[in-house]
Symmetry: C2
């Protein structure tokens, strides 16, 4: 197909496709004349993956390039690819040196029995989040971490099962990308829905803030 | 304090502070001369909140303005503020019209017993995520939604408890911002840590992809 059809079928504007081609996120098409190229289904598929990472995952162009590098690596390993993808999707490392926040993260990892190097992406990101919470006067925010871990563990299991049920390494690697990037976007959307549902059910309690009266409208089962 | 001290204590560069002042994200300081202003602790606090939303939450300047508008609204209501904040943190609505994805979301909401209008932010974002998953050939991604909901529900409860335990409406509103923006960033970091921990434990299984042999190294309890 021509670039116009690639654009129509992917929903990505032609100038953006040309930008992705220049940045190496999309392999070049087959040249049919000095200034025309033909693209195949494999290009459409790759373009949709790139679009998902940029638009839903909010990944930067260089992060997308890293992730695709893991996918195209001839010596690809799923574990290594998961590391690359973790680095790309983890919240930014704010570079905060906060002793208390670091101790909170260490204590949390101890409670969970998780082995984690202080230089790994999730670790630094979490220290930054807790340091920020402390800065804005929410020290007790760290109390929420164990609940997050209880929620995150079965999700990580489901992610990994999803990946391991793939028929080939290529398919599994793509499953890591889809599971991680789309999984985080889906989780954010589901949290929004859950919060709204719950705040609707507890509306009476919300409008009665500050009083310690029992919820007059108990949540439905 | 002068703007230089505000910058030093917040870690936000002076030009960025001036930009936030121009954009109305930070109230003006008290003028001490035609071109010098004095800032108070309240400015430092607001600046740290803005930084958290921009750097950790990845919110756009206009989304931050909406959220702060909810905080500064004289007729503020927690439920309304939660709506505004949900809109700001929900993944983008890709504007995809995908009948199958919409049916998947409807079926999911039915199974959960959640009441949700098709125009709400989380709903449209979720349709976009599922449509994207289908486009890249991962139809069964929708199977993960119930697990996300099971994980999201206790988190939403913890968020709301956190907010309701605040002493004043102002504090509660700020709790919504902190709980939502920092909560999403913390969850993303904890998911990264959980995935790495689990993939480390299952490493043997990962390097044996494609075979259906049982995991030779069962996960530690």
């Amino acid at each position: 197909m021509r670039i116009a059809e690639l654009s129509r079928r992917s929903g990505v504007p032609v100038p953006t496709i040309k930008y992705y081609l220049r940045e190496g996120l999309l392999p070049a098409g087959e040249l049919t004349s000095p200034n025309q190229a033909r693209y195949a289904e494999v290009h459409l598929h790759r373009l949709r993956l790139v679009r998902a990472m940029v638009e839903l995952g909010g990944l930067s162009i260089s992060a997308v390039r890293d992730v695709l590098g893991a996918l195209d690596d001839p010596e690809k390993s799923l574990h290594k690819a998961m590391g690359t993808i973790s680095a790309a999707v983890a919240p930014p490392d704010l570079g905060v040196a906060d002793e208390v926040a670091q101790q909170q993260v260490e204590a949390f990892l101890d409670r969970q029995g998780w082995v984690c190097r202080p230089k790994s992406y999730g670790y630094k990101a979490l220290v930054g989040v807790l340091a920020t919470a402390r800065e804005v006067g929410h020290e007790r925010f760290a109390d929420l971490l164990d609940g997050l871990a209880r929620a995150a563990w079965p999700l990580a299991e489901a992610d990994l099962d999803y990946v391991l049920s793939a028929g080939s390494t290529d398919e599994a690697l793509e499953g890591v990308i889809v599971g991680t990037v789309l999984g985080d976007a889906a989780m954010a959307a589901v949290r929004v829905l859950a919060r709204r549902e719950l705040s609707g059910r507890r509306d009476a309690a919300l409008s009665d803030l500050g009083s310690n009266a029992p919820d007059p409208d108990p949540p439905k089962p």
